[in-house]
Symmetry: C4
Subunit: 206 residues, 4 copies
């Protein structure tokens, strides 16, 4: 019951953050006849929308996988989860920032990419922390239902995100599109099978 | 349980996207005495609001009908559903674009209508793909509960949307209001009985 | 199950519409030292926020009361409910319009109040229609659980809203604040006991 | 069932309000090369985002704790809860106001901090009222499940918020950052163990 309300609240934040992304796509104000060009020119907006949508969607899937092992909600879990949601709910802002400045070049473009990559890194760190807490805190996670090998495989998968996202922070200083591309690849990585994140989802309705 | 959380997340995205449409209706800034005319002049905004509201509402109803046959959530279903939600969540943007440029005439009006119709087409393709996956992927859909004739009837209904929406893409190049009207007619078509989409909804509370 | 998902979707739209109202409250841009005055000057914004919040909250309570008698969801109910949600989701817009123009005087103020009162009237008509459908459509409502007297009492209560809201349309042509005040009084009327709208809510947790 | 829908609606408002906070973070419009400075300059925006996020998150946790003792939903509870949600849903506005004016100095800064602290105070008063109603209204709260000592400990905890928030109103007249810091400390206070607010959350899944 408690757990159900926590999951429902988290799902709500995920669903709202993913849907608010659309508000960051501007309707261009143009001279007559200029709309087609203006729409094509703002391609970074669409790229950022798709990448951020995929990232939030996949965090949601993995969040679900982690909570599939939770047996008991304690104060620590509550705040680690709230901390994760803080970064997830923030994502529409760096998305908009990156979309706005991706073609501007120079230090502005790098600053925007840096903020984007930093947000994702902190989100990744928060996610890894949440998983480690569930996996190792006595009484919180249903570790008895997991083989030690499975725990380690999931830990590898969920904790490796943080350094990979951090790598994209460095890349941001070189090229904003490359930084966005690495974030897209990370989303693909987490979408691929492995680590059994999806296994829990294979349960039948009953 | 897993299925319940997937449905709840999807319902959240539908509910938010349908409610965000209102943010696209501007409060006009006018010279004293000009509000009545300004409100009447922006009739395309209201038309686009109603049509997009109806479209999202009816996708939601049909989404429900499709998920009524899901017995097991796998990775493929998860991503096909996320792909559908990406297009649903996008709808407020082309709605706003079309509303803004519908009376502007020329290439701008056609570009805006094209983007609107393309979004609906990709949403229709995504929906058709989701249904085909549920209907034909072994273990995912409860096909045993459906007569082959019923499967074919639903397939006709859910897959025919994509080419009909695509037709409205062509129409967008001729007339933006006609394009919006065709999208409205498609919403009416999916609202009418047929294909049993609604049948599942007739279940009693128990 | 079906009914549960319909209620959850409706609750989502109510919760989002009521929370989006806050976006209509502007952060004033002022000359240094002018913020206090600017904040006091926009009192109609706060009044409109509170009245619209109360109206949406109370429609939600009454929506709950109506759905407490639903036994079976059919196509008609689905569309009457979607129609009600269309007007509920619209409310942030006339709220913002009225707040913006309430102190402007003249025809602009009357036009804004007219749009506000018309939206509430159409919402009231939609609500009355939904109740009449639940109460009289065979198989949809649990009329057997209600005394004929109770049905009539609820009908009086839920159907009287439309003409009362319509009255506020007339008033809008005279005075915008009076029109808002009448809408506030209507919210108070629906909040008061009577007609047993609340009775259903008295159920224990089990 | 009734209680479930009330909790779900409240959770929806909490989740939306907490996620809408991100819309208050502006994407700066700058001269080429000025983005880094502009992003650093708007630090009050980030501070206000984090503090308001924490406050809404912790009210949500405490709301959950209060509703864990509700056995029966009556009209009074419904309206006290709606009143609390009105203040919670408002929070993004004073957050944005404070973020905008925190560095402006003078009377504007104090006015913004005053509005922020007043909103939190009224939220605190509303929360205290809700708890007192649940604890003392016969039939509403499950007081039989609580020791008198526990009731008193929770009452101390939930009712003390209002005067502490009120204290921050006075502080707003002196220093806006100090006022925000006190609100952050109050969030920390409610996050710490004590009064058993969290105890209810310790239930196992079953």
């Amino acid at each position: 019951m408690s757990l159900g309300r926590l999951e429902a609240f988290s799902d709500g934040v995920f669903a709202i953050a993913i849907t608010l992304l659309v508000l960051e796509i501007p309707v261009p104000s143009v001279e007559p006849g200029g709309l087609t060009d203006a729409l094509l020119d703002q391609w970074p907006v669409y790229a950022a929308y798709v990448v951020s949508f995929a990232i939030i969607g996949i965090i949601w899937i993995n969040h679900h996988a982690v909570f599939g092992y939770v047996e008991r909600v304690d104060r620590g879990l509550l705040f680690l989860n709230l901390n994760l949601l803080l970064w997830v709910a923030l994502i529409p802002w760096p998305t908009s920032l990156l979309a706005e400045y991706m073609q501007s070049g120079g230090s502005d473009e790098r600053a925007a990419a840096l903020v984007y990559a930093l947000t994702m890194t902190l989100m990744g760190v928060s996610f890894g922390g949440l998983w480690l807490y569930v996996a190792h805190r006595p009484g919180v996670g249903a570790v008895a239902r997991l083989q030690p090998l499975e725990v380690r495989s999931r830990t590898r998968r969920f904790v490796i995100g943080a350094p990979l996202y951090a790598l994209s922070v460095g890349l941001a200083l070189v090229s904003a599109p490359a930084c966005l591309a690495v974030n897209a690849l990370l989303a693909v990585y987490y979408a691929l099978p492995g680590g059994g994140a999806m296994k829990h989802l294979g349960d039948t309705r009953s």
